[in-house]
Amino acid sequence: MIRTEHLTKIYRMGAVEVHALRDVSLEIRDGEFIAIIGPSGSGKSTLLNLIGCLDTPTSGDVFIDGIDTASLSENGLAEIRRKKIGFIFQQFNLVHTLSALENVALPMFFAGVGREKRLKRGEELLVRVGLGERIHHKPSELSGGQQQRVAIARALSNDPGIIIGDEPTGNVDTDAGNAIMDILGGLNREGRTIIVVTHDAEIAARAGRIKRMRDGMVLE
């Protein structure tokens, strides 16, 4: 379960303070598929980064499976990201010098999984997202939709309970977007918690719950 309590994030840009998040309290149950929608600058990505332990709040707390992330060191946060969370970015963010398979195996490398096991699981995951034929392709040799599917396989590599997608369909065409949402839906049916940020109402409609944000606040 994910719970945020009075989450506030303030960015200082010179003399100006930007309140990216204002007192956000939210609960996401295990196995939920939740879409967060809202205009640019509404704070959706900031919230996602805090839930995903990529960033630390100015005040407030994020609890993941009962762990108060504010009490964790940088390494502790890295461990949470590695074990419990899989990230999918709008820009795919694959390492372009590595093949699809190596990209998928990378989180397992950081987790200290042995080489053979990594490559085996990496291949299984790529087959699962429909890229079994392209495991040795470089990102530059894949379409946007295919790259995003590699990114999903990568997010799954350490078998996390939570998948976080920041506009996962924002850079692909409609068909590829639907395919990606199908995969995420399948992962949700396996019992994984899925959190996606989007500004596409059609995409959001496929989630079990929709939260709207504006001006750093979650609207009820």
Binding site: A78, R81, V95, L98, E102, P107, F109, N158
Partner: protein, 397 residues
């Protein structure tokens, strides 16, 4: 580990041109160390090798060496020689005399030095080392024969002197029996400007019985130092002076030369070290640029679970791989440069065998230095990379 190496290798290959330049920077630095040290060892070996052939010789001069100049204080007497013969451990003793003389060839005169001694001893000292270009060496009964140095033959007169030419030395007639090759290094001063005669002829020409040089051979090289000391004391006692005789063993000369070469080597290494500092700045620059360019990638790695330590070790691995390749390339380059330098050196200094000596420890040392340079100069960029905030890094670019 294998995958970490692969990851680093991919990233090095990704920036091929820049990586090659960085590798080249280190390679040049290491090559400088390896080649200069190898040539240095080669030079030392060439000189000490020539000297060790005479390790059993003690040279006794009536005078002292102050700095680079030799101050003659007189000459030895027959009593000195007979006293030395009584010292234990000495195999044999030979005496020589030399002095300035005037040589005349085809009615032209020039000042020269005449050196006379037992022909067998002179032969083993000079002929074996320098070699004859023409003719033959003196025999004990060649009272009217002489062998001349290269400069006497070629430079002293307008005409070149050859075997069977006739010379007047201090107005006494001699026939040239042999001409020396040009002497190298140690021998250039001892042979090139001199005329060699039998001891009897030299005494006759120089009108003297003075002994200017005694050469003693010992049975046991290890005792040479001790015997040299005894020789000095014996002769000093005879002349009632504290610092009259100077007895030098080849061992002490070798030591002096060794000392000089450590200084030369230190200077060479110093020069090479400057090259390495420049190279390490190159690595640091390359790695910093790489870190900046890959900010985004670092962010992604952290987002998918890389710890600071993982990022640090990846970047350190990359810089050490670059420097290791540079070190290995530098060793190969250094080897070739050393060979080339010894080849050119041998060509320019004829008769001198200058073979660069490549010691394995120099090669290992070169690679180790490269690795240390790589790790040290890669550390700051790697640390910078590891400290990046994942969210800012992901957002970058």
């Amino acid at each position: 580990m294998r995958d970490a190496v692969l990851l680093a290798y991919r990233s090095i290959r990704e920036r091929k041109a820049r990586s090659i330049l960085t590798v080249l920077g280190i390679a040049v630095g290491i090559a400088a160390i390896v080649s200069l040290m190898s040539v240095g060892y080669g030079m030392e070996e060439a000189i000490t090798g020539e000297l060790t052939a005479f390790a059993d010789i003690i040279s006794v001069y009536p005078g002292k060496i102050a700095g680079a100049t030799y101050l003659e204080l007189g000459s030895f007497t027959d009593r000195d020689v007979s006293d030395l013969q009584r010292i234990g451990g000495i195999k044999d003793i030979t005496t020589m005399t030399y002095d300035a003389a005037e040589v005349e060839f085809r009615n032209k005169r020039a000042p020269t030095f005449v050196l006379g001694g037992e022909t067998k001893e002179l032969e083993s000292l000079y002929v074996e080392a320098v070699g004859l270009k023409e003719g033959r060496w003196l025999r004990e009964n060649d009272y009217k024969g002489c062998v001349i140095g290269d400069r006497v033959a070629n430079d002293f007169f307008d005409d070149v002197i050859h075997v069977n030419d006739k010379l007047l030395i201090n107005d006494k007639k001699f026939i040239v029996l042999g001409v020396f090759e040009k002497g190298t290094m140690m021998y250039a001063n001892d042979v090139d400007p001199n005329i060699f005669l039998t001891l009897r002829a030299a005494k006759d020409v120089l009108q003297t019985d003075e002994i200017k040089y005694i050469m003693a051979r010992v049975y046991d090289i290890d005792e040479a130092e001790e015997i040299a000391e005894e020789i000095k004391e014996t002769i000093n006692d005879n002349h009632g002076l504290d610092e009259f005789a100077n007895a030098m063993t080849m061992g002490s000369m070798l030591e002096q030369i060794g000392g000089i070469f450590s200084i030369i080597r230190a200077v060479l290494v110093g020069i090479a070290a400057i090259a390495l500092v420049v190279a390490s700045i190159g690595i640091m620059n390359t790695m910093l640029m790489s870190v900046m360019e890959r900010t985004h990638e670092i962010g992604v790695m952290k987002a998918i679970g890389a710890k600071n330590r993982d990022v640090l070790s990846l970047f350190l691995l990359e810089s050490s791989m670059v420097s290791l390749i540079g070190g290995a390339a530098g060793c190969l380059l250094g080897l070739s440069v050393a060979k080339l330098m010894s080849f050119l050196g041998s060509m320019l200094m004829t008769g001198m065998e200058l073979e660069a000596i490549v010691k394995p420890e120099v090669l290992f040392g070169g690679i180790a230095v490269a690795l240390i340079v790589g790790i040290l100069s890669g550390f700051y960029p790697a640390r910078k990379a590891s400290k990046m905030s994942p969210v800012e890094a992901v957002r970058y670019g």
